[in-house]
Subunit: 412 residues, 2 copies
């Protein structure tokens, strides 16, 4: 049971993790491309819009015909047609003419602007009064204004959001080259563990990490593969890890935090060909007993068995790594994490030389200010996570944070 | 083509939407319960932990036996056993005795604390030197400390996160009573529209809203049902809406922003039994021509056809409503939205009496400060959404926001 970890800094671990190659591309259906990263430049095959289109209900006209128009001194134009959305206009406007048009309708030739219906009055016999001057291009979406045919629609590396999916739809792109989503195998080790469905005997506990890790993987865009329990025994654990490596792009082992179990995990991982142990301990609390290995280019994580530690490691490093595999830029940047500014309710002490993540509960004061109350003295309890709204980071260089100091709460 | 909207404030629309009943409960598998809302109180069936357990590797002992121990004046205890995780202890510690224990191991009777292995030294012949005093309860998770049998595990209305899923796993809860996820039918109307897979003729455009709305529904936890295109014709549109109401919990129609099309939508919705038009226009920009109807208890939305307007309505109201149907508390509260503080790069003008959402692009200055640059003059373009990182809200009471003012950018 003796031994010490060789501890890396969080930054060192981030550098090691960033060196893993992102997953290869695949073709996804448009509907499945949201939240994913483009693996190729997308080029527009045609202009968008395809033709000049009205952006408002009203009259298409030549802007010059409205110059100087006012409420008291309107312009008068001859309406030569009313085009509904079904009927592309079949005429060219001459000076002094206008045509009724609806939002989205194609502009007739000769027209260069639309006046909104609110500023007009139909006088009968095709005469229309225009009470407002409009500039050329007013309320018109010009052909190619959004994208020109042959132009770059979206670059390699772009993260697709609903609006990017919309832009791809507009150009008729239905198969999208994106980075694959990682399949992440999850194995819980520990001879005290029983399945969630089992009734534990004295000394046994149900496997919590499999359920929690699967949720965290899914939230980061990965696909969890639950392989269940493995015993704390070299041969059996090795067989399970081999199976995981065959099925998945990344493996999450979680096991007891005891030094003996860590040693076993390291021995199992070292037993594979092309295995390199990259990390054996990180200056992170909770989460210190973290193992990361590279086995033939795949990352295998030995996460702490303690649920709270495993979750903090996943929040700080694991979810970012799953996004890294999907091709995200700067996934480890915590600025991307939803956060809330708050004032610390109490002093928090921290050991220098390690990054501390303190679970806090947010409470709003009558002034509207948010107070972050540290959840102390129950580090191993599940309650300390379910009672918390987020984490406050104490950098490795500090010995703590004083009460009333402003902090960013990383929400979860 | 004439007519005016009767416009409600955003707050009025929120009140109307909040009056819809959340969906009924269903039983979800544990793995599918993340992100959902509990429909019943969850009660613990047993203590958690089930027994006193060690939180560290070391020795279980009676704390009193270590009082006064120091580096130079250690306590000496007799080690009467070493318990691995597989073997529940079969003895009771007497004063002066200790037992080797690993993290997670069950404490032997008589022990009330664990001393970490780092502060001990095995001297041989079962003698152990303890160089640090420990308090009763040190490094021990007490039986029932997390939850007591019969106690409230999680209350009705709790939003389940990975850690709550873990807590449920720990108690062996595998079928979870949660509110249903809304099935949301999506119909695009507009005679100019063609399917994403089609090649548009002059005057036609591909249906963008179906793709975008489906992503937004999914991100809010709903299940989109894509019903495709419906013509701008009362009978056909009515048949499509009837089909949608039969299949779904909520219907999103999106159609041209033209007043004529709005009138058609209203006529279609009014033609159903037990239909009430709740909203015909909202003081929101973009997004003014919004229709909301209650048809026999189901919400039917007539969204603006313009993609940017439809997306803003979904971000400000629609996604929150989908969460409301799932039982979220305060889903319309924008404090829940991920945001970034930034300084406005330019003046933005806004019409008083309506809430304006201005698309902005974030740029980081050399000082580290974030600058929010409004994307102006391209309101109907898809680019104005894909170039943007978020929205800045201008309250209805203001005529604009000045440059250099601090703003919260609602990220999307």
């Amino acid at each position: 049971m003796q031994g010490f970890f060789e501890v890396l800094t969080v930054e060192q671990v981030v550098r090691l993790l960033s060196a893993f190659a992102p997953l290869p591309p695949e073709q996804a259906n448009l509907q499945e491309s949201d939240g994913r990263v483009l693996a190729e430049d997308m080029i527009a095959g045609e202009d968008l819009p395809l033709t000049d289109r009205a952006a408002m209900d009203g009259y298409a006209l030549r802007a010059a015909d409205t110059f100087g128009a006012t409420e008291s001194n309107p312009s008068y134009l001859q309406c030569v047609g009313n085009f509904d959305i079904r009927t592309p206009p079949n005429l060219a406007l001459q000076p002094g003419q206008c045509a009724g048009i609806v939002t989205g309708g194609m502009l007739p030739a000769g027209a260069d602007a639309v006046v909104m219906v609110e500023y007009t009055h139909a006088l009968g016999e095709g005469m229309v009064e225009i009470r407002l001057p409009v500039a050329p291009g007013a309320h018109v979406m010009l052909q190619g204004e959004d994208v020109r045919a042959g132009g770059l629609l979206l670059p390699t590396g772009a993260l697709l959001r609903p609006q990017e999916v919309g832009l791809l739809a507009a150009l008729g792109k239905t198969r999208i080259p994106v980075r694959k989503r990682p399949r992440v195998a999850i194995i819980s080790t520990g001879d005290e563990l029983v399945d969630v469905n089992a009734t534990p005997k004295p000394g046994q506990v149900r496997d919590v990490n499999s359920a929690t890790l699967a949720c965290l993987v899914r939230r980061a865009g990965g696909t969890p593969i639950l392989l269940g329990l493995a015993p704390d025994e070299l041969g059996a654990l090795r067989a399970q890890v081999r199976k995981a490596l065959n099925m998945a792009d990344c493996v999450l082992l979680s096991g007891g935090s005891s030094i003996g179990i860590c040693d076993l995990t390291v021995r199992v991982l070292q037993s594979f060909q092309n295995a390199r142990i990259l990390c054996r301990g990180v200056a992170l609390s909770p989460g210190k007993p973290l193992i990361v290995a590279d086995i033939a280019g795949k990352a295998v994580w030995g996460l702490p068995g303690q649920v709270t530690s495993a979750q903090v490691v996943m929040l700080v490093l694991g979810q970012a790594f799953i996004r890294h595999l999907q091709g995200w830029k700067n996934p480890f940047d915590q600025a991307l994490w939803p956060q809330q500014k708050a004032v610390l309710a109490k002093n928090i002490a921290s050991r220098q030389g390690r990054e501390d993540y303190v679970r806090v509960r947010l409470e709003q004061e009558s002034t509207g200010e948010w107070l972050a109350a540290p959840i102390l003295g129950m580090s191993g309890l599940l309650r300390s996570l379910t009672d918390a709204h987020g984490l406050v980071r104490i950098p490795a260089s500090l010995e703590g944070l004083e009460a009333r100091r402003q902090v960013d709460v990383l929400l979860f």
